[in-house]
Symmetry: C2
Subunit: 416 residues, 2 copies
């Protein structure tokens, strides 16, 4: 099967001057990759006639499909439409359906249409008009010598709608595409190289039609399994079989699949087991509570939290003993254990979580350098603690503490 080659051209001075981030190209890349279309180049050019025409010509020489975003506004510095007409050597003419659509667009919103906006319904005679239901600039589809072109507005939600409604469904009708299935296995609490060691034999024995990728991010590693073939059901079964084979080796690190997040997985675990949680956050300063409460419905299992930034409040609000604080210090196994027990009692919750550490960049000592963090999870009849040795970076330390505390809770819910 011939590889289908795509190129993306993003047009607009604002992209070159760093005023806005081009999220479109990344999104388009992902969508095409999922369908088995290979993006071979992305080009960003400014609002300049010569540069845009040069980008068109060099893309046409390489690609089967060319996706263009931006440069479609109603003003003079938006050059995409006139230059596509020039490039395809055809005049711009009134397209009655497009004029009606843009007129309707304004009418619906109770706004007066201007002559400039009416012109948005005038299109190169050689293109196919693709209605844009969520904006005023139409999509334009061109074909020449076996290469297909789609011009779309740069506004992300308009571009995405045109891609989803028109371009992505059209691709399989134009090219023979492989059938591709992706599954994501999400792990936490183990580094990439340790994980690779654990599953090396399985990885080496993967069948030829299944590809594995390690995607690490902040305390997590995602395993992406990509299967190729002719029959979607069969590929899905093949992938599931491989997951079932590898799972026993890594089960205790796996918190979910595909779009799952750690905080949502924990929400489900707590909901299913009808348990509740409360937090005492010192060094993490509210970050973990924020993660938990960012999930809709968290009020059914999140009781509350205390952020006792000073020893006085660890004692007064959470009942950490002054003797513990003075003997072992705020950053210690003993203190963090009493914090977890104390907050569990205060909020009458099933689990109590706690963090205490030196987030940095200041406050480190020889014995407890910046990045030293103690975490704890208290439950009925147990207190689990763990020491982390993190980085010099304050924000990174806060985030890594968050992942570690949530993972400790996950382990306590499943194992206790």
């Amino acid at each position: 099967m011939k590889v289908v080659r795509a190129e993306i051209i993003a047009i607009g001075d604002e992209l070159l001057y760093g005023q806005i981030v081009d999220t479109n190209s990344h999104w388009i890349s992902q969508e095409l990759d999922l369908m088995g279309v290979k993006v071979v180049r992305k080009t960003t050019v400014g609002d300049d006639r010569k540069d845009i025409l040069a980008a068109f010509a060099s893309a046409e020489a390489r690609a089967d499909i060319i996706l263009i975003t931006g440069g479609l506004g109603p003003t003079q510095d938006d050059l995409t439409k006139p230059l596509m007409a020039e490039y395809f050597n055809c005049p711009i003419v009134e397209n009655p359906a497009a004029v009606e659509a843009v007129t309707e667009f304004f009418k619906k919103r109770g706004r007066e249409i201007t002559p400039l906006n009416i012109l948005q319904g005038h299109l190169p005679a050689c293109c196919t008009y693709v209605p844009n239901e969520v904006g005023t600039a139409p999509g334009m589809w061109f074909e020449r010598n076996g290469t297909y072109w789609m011009s779309m507005p740069g506004v992300p939600h308009e571009m995405k709608k045109l891609m989803r409604d028109f371009v992505l469904p059209k691709l399989p009708t134009l090219f023979p595409l492989p059938i591709i299935v992706h599954r994501m296995v999400k792990t936490v609490g183990i580094g990439e190289s340790w994980l690779a060691d654990l599953i090396r034999e399985w990885e080496n024995a993967l069948p030829k039609n299944i590809r594995l990728a390690y995607l690490p991010s902040l305390g997590h590693v995602k395993l992406r399994l990509t299967g190729f073939g002719q029959d979607k059901n069969q590929i899905e079964k093949d992938i599931q079989k491989q997951i079932d084979m590898v799972l026993p080796s890594i089960e205790k690190y796996v918190y979910g699949y595909d779009d799952e997040t750690l905080e949502r997985a924990i929400g489900k675990l707590l909901t299913t087991s009808q348990k509740t949680v409360a937090l005492a956050e010192s060094c993490s300063g509210g970050y973990i509570s924020h993660l938990i409460t960012s999930i809709s419905g968290s009020s059914s299992y999140f009781q509350g939290a205390v952020i006792p930034y000073h020893n006085q409040f660890k004692n007064e609000i959470l009942q950490v003993r002054n003797e513990t604080l003075s003997t072992f210090g705020a950053v210690s196994e003993e203190t963090v254990g009493e914090m977890a027990t104390g907050v569990r009692k205060l909020f009458n919750s099933d689990f109590g979580l706690a963090s205490s550490g030196i987030a940095g960049p200041n406050g480190g000592t020889e014995e407890k350098p910046v990045g030293t963090v103690w975490i704890a999870c208290a439950g009925e009849g147990f207190v689990e603690t763990k020491k982390l040795q993190l980085t010099q970076d304050r924000m990174l330390n806060i985030q890594l503490t968050g992942v570690a505390v949530l993972n400790l809770l996950r382990i306590c819910i499943t194992e206790k």
Copy 2:
């Protein structure tokens, strides 16, 4: 003055397949724009010899300076170095300084260096070696026929360090660049169009060498003043004069200049006035405490917080009266006021802040729809409250509540 034209080439399959977002190109664009260098094109190509060489050739035909990121790892699919050697027609040879640097890099971290890593110190004979202090892949600088090339690793913090330490300081020595001065005036608590209305006359009367841009983001609007000229001191004075002129109209919305953030500005206000703060976060769920404690040194003014997610704890921990809760509900001016007063007392702080609202997407009623949020700031002898009517989006509501609460605190510190 001739315009200096730059191009950016990002290399790596992972960028084309949408596995990672290329944040490098955007950052480089911004930095070059600030110096008056014009980026005319950005190109992303995969790990493919022909595509990379084609990108080199077409960039050389157009640009004065070419910045290349990525493709510098030690493995075989990293092609940038051999292809630059091929393109510049010179052999790859051992560079003793580069070999020593990479050896040191491993030694310092107590790791064994591999033969593959030693090869990272072998460079094209025709390039200038640029040390990379934070990674193993060196920077490489090339010059040919008046065009300058810099190859850098794709890891963002390595690329940024090479840009900041080497490339950006070098540019003014290579090209006559215009002198450009940027100042940012940061506002909060007023929308873009209202702000524009307030300062329209001033904006229309700006001198020709000063440009104004509105940069809105989540609850903030930044005003960027860009001045052009021959004399840096004079431009700075010209800009300051304009700021002094506009300030009386917008002073109560301005929290800082240039790199200042709202949470840091508040930290400074609290430190200067030797005041402390504590928070009772209901709907914001820890997010505001996280913002405040993300600032190093916040322990000197942040006393702590309580996140009482249920009425029971609003009463038990913060002493909100049950009568208030049952009469007015949790999301009410009365409750949020008592929360602020209660948390101020609990933590013995100068200011007490509180939030209570319906973050969504569920839980709204006709009287209090999703997005209804009450916030409060209590201090010696006063309680300020404010009602917000936000959006349907949970995360956006949490973030906008955060900005509003911090802004309320800012106003209370400066006006009370």
